[in-house]
Amino acid sequence: MSVYTEPKMTWQGATKIVNLRKALTAGPWFVAEYRLRNMSKWWTAILAFGLGNPVLYLLSVGIGIGALVNKSQAHGVDGVPYLTFLAPALLATSAIQAAMDETSFPTMQGFMWDKSFFAMNATQLTGRVIVGGIMIASAARCIFNTLIYALVLWAFGAVAPASIPVLVASAILAGLGFAAIMLMTVSFIKQDDGFFAIVGRFIIAPMFMFSGTFYPITNLPIYLQWIGWVSPVWHATDIGRALSYGHAVTPGLMVIHYSYLLLMLVVGMTVGGRQFAKRLAA
C-alpha cells in the first residue's frame, strides 16, 4: 500500500441505495445465499460423500446382509425385501446427517471460529433472520443429498420410482427437525471442546442403531425402544415405510410422527432464534 492512488468512489448514500423493505424482509435469503456460496467451496466433498455413502452402504449392508436376511426369512422383513425395508431408514439418516452438517458447523463457525454472525449482525440482519437463512441453506443441502440417495436406492432396486417423493419428503422433515434442534443446542455452546465427537458417538450412532433401522423397533426390548421414540429417524422411517410399501401404521401414530418432527423444527428454530439474538446482543 505504498503507491498512492486517487480513489474513485461514487457515493449516493445508504438512504438511497439500501432498499429498507427488501433488506428487512428478504434477510434469510441473503444469509442462505452466503451459506450456499460457502458450501460451493466444498462441493467435491459434498458430492463425493453424497454419492459414496449410499453406494458403499447399499453394497455392504443392503446387498450383503440383505442376501442373508432374505435367505433366512422367506418373506423378507415386514413383508418386503430387506433392502426395501431398509431404504426409508437409510434416507432419513442421510437427511439428518446432511442437514445437521449445515446447521451445527456453521453455528460453531459463526459464533466462535470466524465470528461471521457478528459481521452479519452488524448489518440489519438479526439473530432470528440468520437462523432462518441457515435453515434454508441446510434444507437445500438436505434435499440435494436425499435426492442423490434416493436415486442410488432406485438404481439398486430398493425403491419404486413412485415412492421416491414421499420417501424424500419424510426424510427431509426428519433432517430439518433434527437440524433445528442441533442448531439450537450448538448456539448455547461457549467452548469448543469436542462436542461434535460426543454427538456423533452418543446421539447419532445410537439413534441410527436403535430406531428400527435394521429391524422393526418392536424387536427391541421395551427398555431400549424409547430411543426410537425420541429419535427422528424412527418417526421418519415409519412414515416412509407406511407410504412407500404400505407398512401398517395407525392414523393416530401417523399424526404423532408428523407432529413430533414438526415440533422439533419449531422448537429448534424458536429457541435457537432467541438464543442467537441474545448472544449477538450481549
Binding site: 448514500g13 441505495i17 439500501v18 429498507l20 428487512l24 465470528k115 459481521a119 452488524a122 440482519l125
Partner: protein, 304 residues
Amino acid sequence: MIVAKDLKKVFGDFTAVNGINFEVKKGEAFGLLGPNGAGKSTTMRMIAATSLRTSGELSILGKDPNHNGPEIRAHLGVVPQQDNHDNELKVWENLYIYGRYFGLGRKFLKNKIVELLDFAQLQEKRDVKVDALSGGMKRRLTIARGLVNEPEILMLDEPTTGLDPQARHILWDRLFRLKEQGVTLVITTHYMDEAEQLCDRLIVMDKGQIMAEGAPAELIKKYSSKEVLEVRFGSTKNAEAAEQIKNLGDRIEPLPDRILVYAEDGEKVLEQIHKMGLQPQTSLVRRSSLEDVFLRLTGRTLVD
C-alpha cells in the same frame, strides 16, 4: 446523528459504561479514547445498534436502537476491532456477500467492489482467499467492507491497528475524503497522533466514564502545558532524578523509562537541570500532544 444521555451498560455485576453523555453531529469525526477496558468498544457496539443498553437514552439517526436496531444498522458501516471475514471465501466474495446482506443488487455490487478494492488497494488480491492475506490487508478489507452500503455513519473500532505507516496515512486521507462527503465518523484508537489528525472532537473515557471532552487542540491547551521536556537518566537513576527535579516546570510525570517535565519553555527547564549538576543521558523538547492529555487523564498504570 447520535445523542447519548446517561448511557449505561452493565454486564452482570460489571458496569462497562457508567452513565455517559455525548452528541455527534452530521459530518463530524468523533473520537473515543481511553485505555483498554475503558468501555470504548461497548459504547461503539451500543452506537452500532448491536448491543442493547441497560439504561439511559440513545438515539442514532433519530431512532432508538433498542427498538429500531435493524433499520439503523441498514444505514451504518461497521469496522469491528476483530476482523471477521469468511476465510474460505475470496477477497471479492467477502465484499460481495456483505453487500448482499444489505440486499444490494448484483450489478451495483460489481461496480462497487471495483471501487472498494481500489480504496483498500487490494485490486491484485481480488481472487485470493482471505486466509492468505496479511494482517494489514485483512484490516483494509474490513474497512472497505464497512463502506459497501455507503453508510451515513462509519464506525471504526481501532481501524489502523496492524497497519504499516504508509497504509495508515493513506487511510487517514481516505477517511478525510469520506468526511468531506458528509459521512459521520466515529473512531476509537490507541494512537494519539491518529486521534489528533482525524477527530474534530473526542471524549476520553476511563472506567466507563467520560474524563474529558473537546477538540484535540482544546484538550491539549486545557490539560497540558505548551511544551514537554523528556529526559532519561538511565533506568536505575530515573526515580532518584525525578525526586530532585519534581519542582521544575508546571508538573512532572515520571514514566518507567523517562521523565516528562511539563513547562511553558522546555529548553529553560533543561538548563535548570544542568545547573543542578544533573546530566541526563538524552533530552528532548517537544510540543505537548494529545498523548500527554491522555496520560494525565487516565493515569499511567497499564490496565492489561
